[in-house]
Amino acid sequence: MTTHSPDLVPTDASDRLRVTFGRVVVSEWRKMVTLRSTWWTLSIMVALHAGIGLLMAVYTRINGSNLTPEEATDWAVGPTQMTQLAIVVLAVMTITSEYATGQIRVSATAVPSRLPILTAKALVLGCVTLVAGVLGVALSVGASMVVGGGTVAFTLSGTETARLLAATPLYLVGIALVSLGVGALIRSTGGTIATMMGLLLVVEQILMAIPFHLTKLIAPWLPSNAGSLIRYDLDFLETVKEVVAPGAYLGPWGGFAVLLGWAVLFGVLAGVRLRSRDV
């Protein structure tokens, strides 16, 4: 039907050129790394972990004492409550900026089945968050070991320490995926960030604090409350067990599974919406 001019790609190119999931992943990867905001949010996140670890190590040394491995772990993992906000912003922007700018229509035209766009975004976002989380915790621990004094020797064979150090990257991945799903559902940047911040910082914590049986039964299952269990040491987990309703204590890995469950739930809802609604 068409006769193409010689300076353009030949017609049979369509055999070689076609959409595959791997290519959509490459596209989403390029989208993420070509935006300055990605590097800003990730840098802030990593710097907060590393910086607070470094500060506390210096502070301990000035006071003339040595940092224990438990303390070093605490300072590496502790900032997560704050740094998750940077990840929420990154994750939400990944999808809502496409709606804000109209880019989504270009994306959906290139990948008409649409679902691979969301899946590829989740994959890229998950990996980037995991790497940034590991980097943040590693830099913090490293700072502690260098500055904190000779006694900080980490034995990763200690399963609790290993779990706590792994907790931050894993928790951040879970929160990132939940944020992505909620963002794909709400589609507006401001609305989604407000929703996620409200949920993480206000709603979940207030529900946890209300001394009714019902809230004590439900609140532990909410994304952040459940996912955070993986970040708590054994002493604090005992406290949580006493506070929540009997049967609503999920345990560190159970809680993390519930967080991932939320991510899957929002992801499925977002996928259904993305496929069925006009963009």
């Binding site: 039907m1 270009v106 008409p112």
Partner: protein, 333 residues
């Protein structure tokens, strides 16, 4: 080739596109003309699978858009200027789109060159003018070297040189045997670029015709006359089957050739003081076609008749204000 069959889109109670059928043929530029809000963009979004039709279907190169395995090689689309994250550079934007199909950097640089963006390829889109945004959108459309191009208001925001560039590019692509479908709300623009035009108003196809036929009004002629007994002459002309609109006590606009009017007047023994044919400009033909179909008209206080049939001619409602002489134009539905 684009084939739409009974395509409809309803938003709530609003019928944005109402049972539209048309074929856009390869090898020529087809203009898609209509006032703002007529349903042009909605139709184009349905062609691209972005909006789901409420009824009907549309295929591109033989299959629904979403069924193509390499859609960018089938259809290139410019839907809106700057549908780009402003923080990305022009090249980075093209690379993200190219990646989905495995299109290489060489082709990206090629379309940057084709659209005159090579010098600003490394600049962030944030600083682009509307015209540069349009060029980037066209670069995206050309990426997959598609057989069909869909351009929504491609000359919006372009300077005269850019307008000419889009015109020449469209013609060149059509001459290569591709299907080029471009929308505009400006008749003059379409007249200069397109070979064929599809006119849409309030979601309905009003005309699907070669540009030349639209200009000629499908053989219909119209005239303007002054006669002291205008009302009587109007009745006589209507009896003969001509559409008539009385503009004031002595003036009539008639959809008939001067010869027919003169003979009718003679037979009725009514004196005619002035009689002249009315030349139809494309702009007037377009306005006449869409006079009843624009969603927001500027003449305040014109009561719209909800019972008006879509195929009713404007001249059958003498009270309706109109800035153009009315004439029947072949209406294709």
């Amino acid at each position: 080739m684009i084939v739409a069959e009974g395509l409809s889109k309803t938003y709530g109670k609003v019928r944005a596109v109402d049972h539209v059928s048309f074929t856009v043929e390869p090898g020529r530029v087809t203009g898609f003309l209509g006032p703002n809000g007529a349903g042009k963009s909605t139709t184009m979004r349905m062609i691209l699978g972005l909006d789901r039709p409420t009824a009907g279907r549309v295929t591109v190169n033989g299959a629904p858009y979403t069924h193509h395995r390499a859609p960018l090689t089938q259809v290139g689309a410019l839907l809106e200027a700057k549908a780009v994250h402003p923080g990305r550079t022009a090249r980075a934007h093209l690379m993200t789109v190219a990646a989905t199909h495995g299109i290489g950097r060489a082709r990206v640089d090629e379309v940057l060159g084709l659209t005159g963006l090579s010098d600003v390829a490394g600049k962030r889109v944030k600083g682009f003018s509307l015209g540069m945004g349009q060029r980037l959108g066209i670069a995206v459309a050309l990426l997959g070297d598609p057989a069909t191009l869909i351009l929504d208001e491609p000359v919006n925001g372009l300077d005269p040189e850019g307008v000419k560039w889009v015109r020449d590019l469209s013609r060149m692509l059509a001459a290569q045997g591709r299907t080029v479908f471009l929308s505009s709300h400006l008749m003059a623009e379409v007249a200069q670029t397109a070979d064929h035009v599809i006119v849409i108003g309030r979601g309905r196809i009003l005309a699907d015709t070669p540009i030349s036929a639209l200009l000629a009004g499908s053989g219909q002629e119209s005239s303007r006359l002054r006669a002291p007994r205008a009302a009587e002459l109007a009745t006589a002309l209507r009896t003969k089957g001509f559409a008539v609109r009385q503009t004031d006590a002595e003036h009539l606009d008639v959809a008939a050739a001067t010869k027919d009017i003169a003979e009718t007047a003679l037979a009725a023994q009514i004196a005619v003081h002035e009689l002249a044919p009315v030349r139809t400009s494309l702009e007037e033909a377009y306005l006449a076609l869409t006079a009843d179909e624009v969603e927001y008209r500027s003449s305040v206080g014109a009561p719209s008749n909800p019972y008006q049939q879509p195929d009713q001619q404007p001249d059958q409602q003498p009270d309706q204000p109109s800035t153009v002489p009315t004439r029947p134009v072949e209406v294709v539905r």
